[in-house]
Amino acid sequence: MTNWKAIQNGDGGWAYSRGCSWTEPTAFALLARSADSPNTMTIPDRESFQRGVKFLSSIARPDGGWSPQPGVEESTWVTALAVLLPEGAVNEQQRRNAIGWLKTRSGRESGWRYRLQQRLVGNNDEFPQGWPWFPGAAAWVIPTSLGILAFEKALRRHDAASADLVERVESGRTFLLGHMCADGGWNHGSNRALGRDGDSYPETTGIALLALNGVASAQLERAKAMARKHLASCRTAEGIAWLRMGLSAHGESLAPAPDPVCRTNMDEALMTLARAQRNPLLA
């Protein structure tokens, strides 16, 4: 089991691998700890957990979103993590603010200006609303998947008006299905370039499958087949962890396999979530 306290920074946060604290690894460390030992945390572990919580409380910004690091004056994709954190890790107002921020953000391609430009050149495609990494950019697979998981969690907790959230979850899922690669998996979202098919990646295939939990279709069967194929050859902890989480979310029972080498704190956290009986991202 990872000794999270030993690798915690003085400010209470965690680094991706070493160095300064960031929001994403800190949030995933807290999620991993909540999956690891929900009822058996020692007093020092609880103190360490609370120091992580305190670090994250400094991340919330006046616009309701969260920044990726205390020094970054911009709310970004990590805002979804505020909603996904274990209960009690974020105060209720911060959680609601984060949901409000996420509701107003989507990929630039689904904004009225871009859609109008496309209509004027004869492109009448639908542009479902996914989430961007950074405000002003297009939607991509990972932030969209995290946004879907965050809104699903909010819906389970009944802590926001449901119609808007349900609509965004559906739109986000349409975005994901529309950006599936020809091989059945996902890369970051560029499934075709200059008329050529792009190859999918293990990690993005896994997280997209996780966000599509509860969806059943022939398209999803192809995605699961591709995920199993990736899992057979993938050697990175990040890829293996997301693939295991994605396939488990679709009821696939996975044969026990040796864990890969974890090179970063994020790897450790993701592998802990992948091993958990009940994935906190879906709880």
Partner: protein, 318 residues
């Protein structure tokens, strides 16, 4: 109304041409570019790179150097990434020339597992204790930098301390065609400096802000640079990922990344005046072959035309 520098320049140029005014052509110092034949990734690469770097008489004694390779995909067998031997040769060369510290640093734009990617690309097996010499720029501590007179829509960028604090940034790029920019060489390679943990994977903000313009803005943020381009085996066709290997058998280096990239274009059979980011950086009149002083091989002796996809046929040099 807010105009970007590029819009202002275009408006000024248009006004000048309408009124038949003569305009002042900005001149730049003649940049030295060395072109050396390197037929294969053999141990000779170490001596070649050392000679190239020392020929440029860089004052690196006691300095902190950052080498920025181009790491894109998990594949040691393709030509997507800068070959680890070229990066290691540069690492050894700068240490031999007295640098106090040499770090290899990269923030890949597609894959989040940077160490896994570097391992799969052969860096761990080529560079001893690679992890100790490497910084993941996607997750390094960052500071905000204002872009003075931006060409792009960006007015500032968060950038990693490792590169902001170094004395010399060395772009160790791969010679590749690029389906959005025409060619990706030492200047485009600087996209890997932009932290993924802030801007995401890929760093899509840069594309929405204007691809050629952000390449030039990033270039201007780092005035102390050296460029080495790995053209031993480059990539032609639908680069920078889906193209095919092209053996050009050459290494190109110099202090002026614009001069290096313009020279690389000529080696690839591309007219550098047709590459928008080079035009924006220097102006068409400063991209002629005589604007730079080439040493080592002549362009004619090493020119190897890289295949171009249909969308980029017009950039082929005469």
């Amino acid at each position: 109304m807010h105009l970007t520098r590029r819009e202002a320049l275009l408006a000024t140029a248009a006004a000048a041409s309408l009124t038949c005014c003569s305009r002042t052509v900005q001149r730049y110092p003649v940049g030295n570019v060395s072109i050396v034949k390197a037929p294969a990734y053999t141990m000779d690469v170490y001596d070649t790179v050392y000679s190239m770097v020392s020929d440029h008489r860089l004052n690196v004694r006691g300095k902190r150097i950052v080498l920025k390779p181009n790491l894109v995909e998990y594949d040691a067998d393709t030509v997507i990434n800068t070959h680890p031997m070229v990066v290691h040769a540069a690492y050894e060369a700068f240490l031999k020339l007295g640098a106090a510290d040499v770090r290899i640093a990269e923030g890949p734009g597609h894959r989040r597992g940077t160490l896994d990617l570097a391992d799969a690309a052969g860096y761990f097996s080529t560079v001893a204790k690679f992890e100790d010499s490497f910084t993941d720029l996607n997750t390094d501590a960052v500071a905000k930098r204002t872009i003075v007179n931006p060409l792009s829509k960006l007015d500032s960028l968060y950038l990693p301390h490792t590169v902001l604090d170094c004395d010399l940034l060395v772009s160790v790029a791969k010679m590749k065609t690029h389906h959005w920019a025409g060619a990706t060489l030492s200047m485009k390679n600087l996209f890997g400096l932009v932290p993924g943990a802030v801007y995401g994977w890929p760093k899509n903000v840069l594309h929405w802000s204007g691809l050629p313009e952000t390449i030039v803005d990033l270039h201007h943020l780092f005035p102390k640079q050296f460029a080495i381009v790995d053209g031993i085996v480059g990539m032609e066709g639908n680069g920078p990922i889906q193209g095919t290997p092209k053996a050009a058998g050459v290494l190109v280096a110099g202090r002026d990344p614009v001069a290096v990239d313009a020279t690389c274009c000529r080696v690839m059979g591309i007219d550098p005046k047709q590459i928008e980011y080079l035009q924006l950086a220097r102006g068409e009149e400063n991209l002629s072959e005589t604007a730079f002083r080439q040493t080592g091989e002549t362009i004619r002796s090493v020119r190897t035309d890289f295949a171009l996809v249909d969308q980029w046929k017009q950039i082929r040099a005469a």
